[in-house]
Structures are given as structure tokens and as C-alpha cells.
């Protein structure tokens, strides 16, 4: 028999992280660094995992190297309407991060990092 559907409608808190989400709209990616020990964090976090001090924001460099990638064909709920997308991990001089990649992917390729308003993106140079 049919089960009763369970609809889970979420609200996700972004307090303290407004800088990150707003910067995406300007095509920028920001991480945080510890005010005491200097450890850099991406994804950003408000407290340092190592020394417990608070963190401050820094802008992640736009230059990076492609570390690995996957082309997503079978998409999850919430992404059904998208064309196939490529998820990549890239290394900048400060942090490693995940992004949606455009261009012909090749491990080791140089990429330019930006944002499309909703997520981190990178483009093969």
C-alpha cells in the first residue's frame, strides 16, 4: 500500500555566515582564519577547531589547481532540473574547496575560482 509521504521543510541558519552567502552574489569566495593561531578554514567556521579562538574572514584566492572531479548524471532531489554538472575539488594557496566546474576537466589543470550567486564555481583556464 502507499505510505503517507513525509515532507520535511527546512530552514537553515546562516547567522555569522552572512558574509559567505552574500559574497557568493558578488562572485567571491570567503573563508575564515583563526585570530589567534592563524589556521585557515574552508568551509568557514566561527571558531577555531584547534585553539578555540574566534575566526575572522579572508577572501580565498581566485587561482587554483584541479585536484579531482566527478560528472554527476544521476541527480538527487532538488537538482533534477539541472543539466549534468561537474563537482570538483580544487586547491588554492590558502585552502582546498569544492566547486561546480566548467570547461574540459583534467586533474592538475589550473582553474579560476568564482561564484554564481548560489555556489562556488571554477573555470578551467
Amino acid at each position: 500500500m502507499e505510505g503517507i509521504p513525509l515532507n520535511l521543510n527546512y530552514k537553515v541558519p546562516i547567522k555569522g555566515y552572512e558574509k559567505f552567502w552574500e559574497s557568493l552574489k558578488e562572485g567571491q569566495v570567503w573563508g575564515t582564519s583563526c585570530t589567534k593561531c592563524g589556521e585557515k578554514y574552508f568551509p568557514p567556521q566561527l571558531h577555531c577547531s584547534k585553539c578555540g579562538a574566534s575566526t575572522t574572514w579572508f577572501k580565498v584566492s581566485e587561482e587554483g589547481e584541479l585536484l579531482t572531479y566527478s560528472i554527476v548524471k544521476a541527480k538527487p532531489q532538488g537538482f533534477e532540473g539541472y543539466e549534468d554538472y561537474t563537482i570538483a575539488l580544487v586547491r588554492t594557496k590558502e585552502v582546498d574547496l569544492m566547486c561546480w566546474l566548467s570547461g574540459e576537466p583534467r586533474v592538475g589543470a589550473q582553474v579560476r575560482i568564482g561564484a554564481d550567486g548560489r555556489r562556488v564555481t571554477c573555470l578551467i583556464k
Partner: protein, 385 residues
């Protein structure tokens, strides 16, 4: 402190089990394990229930399973460690016996994964890393996570899609001999390479199926083990570790750090080395995972996992046989059941009750390697008869 033994094991048929709710499914495994051990519910002091539960209608499955199985009053919690949930249940049972909290503990793991549609299932799995910083922005899926490792392994070590396909060929071959396995068809390298791309380079036939199933083990103290008629299989040591939720924070994508650390700890606690292993079950949720498991367990050096497959060095009769019941890849991977299905497999093998896939033992040393998420959790356990 007491030694800890497994004296009974049971496992349901794995597959799309729309003939059973989670209650009947768990009972298949529980009843077999109790009969195997020669005990009844009244002997059980504690039952540890493992289930991820997010893909079935029973989101809090411990009470209905306990009620159905006659274990009411003995199930104070449910444990969860994603795909390593079964090992988390074993670990909890082991610790309870070791600490003297309970001398007869039933560990049961199960999941009904096919009660939701595939898109919902992918959405649950895609949250297996970090929701806000990965799934929300990028639409990660669980295959994507392992695909990121596969791509890097290919780039760094020259591993080929054909090498990964060999893991699937092997898994299906042995699953075809296992009447409880989910996928019992044989496949060829070409079948795997031509199968639908899910998250490149992972294709449908590189992936374990979405399965329903349950497995259970009766875990007891040495004193209890000596009184029972069944030959005990001793838990020599359980190693565990975990890793970052964000896949981008790992710093390496060719090996699972948590699995390496869990293996090192299991070897240290049990006093065995990779060289001593005669049998292993490894967490081959995707074919690349089997290759990395060989390396993470120290069966072969980093980057050479594919060689073991090409040379048939993990087949039945090899020095260390791996996954002769068909692996997650073809036997099936009902998340909560998997770790205990591995225990079922090594116990059957060590007791020489594995029928046509029986490995020959000289020293009776076997291991389970169970990974949760994409190396978010790892348990490696060593067993001896």
C-alpha cells in the same frame, strides 16, 4: 577483562524485500542468530539495534523490531554510523561484554532502503558528507563522493576503469553462489564499462545496489562461550577511526585515512599483521572502494590495489581471500546490516561452514573492514577461531 566471542550469526536474504517490513526482516536475522548460538530471548541481556533508518517508513525502528522479536526491555538505543552502522552495533556489543555490563548481547543491524524512491534515496545519501557546505550548494550524491576518490586514484596511480570493473566481475561471480545475495547475475568487464554513468567515473555496475536486509550476531563473554555448544569465534580486536565531514578537508583522495587508522589499531590490538590474514571482508560499496581497501589494509602498497584484482590475488584459494559472499557490490548493501553481514561471513568462513566458497585456513585469522560514509567512519575488526 573477559575475552569476547561471537557464538551465533544470522542474515536475511538481501534484495528488494517488499515482502517484509523491517520487523520481519530483522526477525529473519535475529532468529537465525539465536538458533545458531543455541540461546533464546530470555538469555539476551542487551540488544544493540543498528539502523540508519532514513529510507524506510519506520524512522525509529528499534521499538517495533524489539516488540516483534521478543526483545522489549533490552533495546535502550539505536546506533548509527552510516554504512558502518552494523560495525557500530558490534562495537557497542563488544564493549558491553568487555566491560561486564552484559554477558549475552545481541547485535542486530538492518535497513529497508527501498521503501523510498531512488531520487529520495540519492538525496539522503548526498547528505552523507556535510549538508550545508556540500549538498546544499553542489548537489553531491553518495556515488559522487567515491567518484572523487576514483578520479584522483586514476590520475595519481594510473588505475583504470577496467581495473575497477574487475572488482564488480569478482563480486557478481561470488554472489551468484550465495543464495542470500541481492544480485546473482554474472557480469563482464564490458558490461560494467557499458553500464549507465551515475557519477563519472562511477557507473551503475560499479555501484552496490540499494538493498533491504538484516544481519545479527550473538556476542558473549568467555564464560558464557564455554558453556554453549557452538564453537566460538573470538573478537581479537576492533580498531576504529573517523574523518572530516567535508570531503574537501581530507587533503588526500586516493585512500581513506580513517580506514588506515582503524586497520593499524586493529592489527595492534589483535597482534596480527596483514600478512597473517587468510580472509577479509572489505567495504566495496563501489568498485574503487575495494581497490582502496586492499591498500588501506596493507594487503598491497598504495596505488597497487588494481594489481591484486588483475592477478586474481583475492580470489578463493588465494593467500588472503576477499568477499567470497559477493561483497556489498553484489551481495547487497543494506547499510545497517552490512557490518554484521561481514561478521556473519567471517564466522561462517572461520567455522568452515561456507560451502562452495569455503576458504582454506591454516591459522584461522580473518578481518572485517567496514566504512561509513566516504571514510567518515571506519571499523576494522580481527577475528580468530
Amino acid at each position: 577483562m573477559t575475552r569476547v566471542a561471537v557464538v551465533g550469526v544470522g542474515t536475511s536474504k538481501f534484495g528488494k524485500r517488499d515482502d517484509a517490513s523491517v520487523r520481519e526482516l530483522a526477525w529473519e536475522a535475529i532468529s537465525e542468530a539465536m538458533i545458531d548460538a543455541g540461546i533464546t530471548q530470555s538469555d539476551v541481556k542487551l540488544a544493540v539495534v543498528g539502523s540508519t533508518a532514513y529510507r524506510g517508513v519506520e524512522l525509529y525502528p528499534a521499538p517495533p523490531v524489539a516488540e516483534y522479536s521478543g526483545l522489549v526491555g533490552k533495546t535502550p538505543m539505536r546506533v548509527e554510523a552510516a554504512c558502518a552502522t552494523g560495525s557500530a552495533a558490534l562495537f557497542s556489543a563488544y564493549n558491553a561484554v568487555k566491560a561486564g555490563t552484559a554477558d549475552v548481547v545481541l547485535a542486530v543491524g538492518f535497513d529497508k532502503m527501498t521503501e523510498v524512491d531512488t531520487a529520495s534515496s540519492l538525496a539522503v545519501g548526498g547528505r552523507g558528507g556535510n549538508y550545508t557546505w556540500e549538498f546544499q550548494m553542489f548537489g553531491t550524491t553518495f556515488p559522487t563522493y567515491y567518484a572523487l576518490y576514483a578520479t584522483r586514484h586514476m590520475a595519481e596511480y594510473g588505475t583504470k576503469e577496467e581495473d575497477m570493473a574487475l572488482a564488480a566481475v569478482k563480486a557478481h561471480k561470488y554472489a551468484s553462489m550465495n543464495e542470500k545475495a541481492h544480485l546473482r547475475n554474472r557480469v563482464t568487464v564490458e558490461d560494467v564499462l557499458k553500464s549507465r554513468v551515475i557519477s563519472w567515473p562511477i557507473k551503475l555496475l560499479d555501484s552496490s545496489p540499494i538493498s533491504d536486509g538484516a544481519s545479527a550476531a550473538v556476542v558473549v563473554s568467555e564464560e558464557v562461550a564455554r558453556k554453549l555448544k557452538v564453537e566460538p569465534v573470538w573478537v581479537q580486536g576492533i580498531g576504529y577511526s573517523s574523518d572530516t565531514s567535508s570531503i574537501s578537508r581530507r587533503g588526500e583522495w586516493t585512500s581513506l585515512r580513517a580506514a588506515r587508522e582503524a586497520a593499524a589499531e586493529a592489527y595492534r590490538k589483535s597482534g596480527v599483521t596483514p600478512h597473517d590474514l587468510e580472509y577479509a571482508t572489505v567495504h566495496d560499496c563501489f568498485t574503487i572502494a575495494e581497490i582502496m581497501a586492499y591498500e588501506d589494509l596493507g594487503l598491497v602498497e598504495r596505488g597497487k590495489g588494481g594489481t591484486l584484482l588483475r592477478e586474481g590475488q583475492t580470489e578463493r584459494g588465494a593467500k588472503t581471500a576477499v568477499n567470497l559472499f559477493g561483497g556489498l557490490k553484489a551481495k547487497g548493501h543494506p547499510l545497517g546490516a552490512t557490518g554484521l553481514a561481514m561478521v556473519y561471513e567471517v564466522v561462517k568462513q572461520l567455522r568452515e561452514e561456507a560451502g562452495i566458497v569455503q576458504q582454506q585456513f591454516r591459522n584461522y585469522v580473518a578481518l572485517t573492514h567496514n566504512v561509513g560514509g566516504t571514510g567518515h567512519y571506519a571499523y576494522v575488526s580481527v577475528f580468530r577461531r
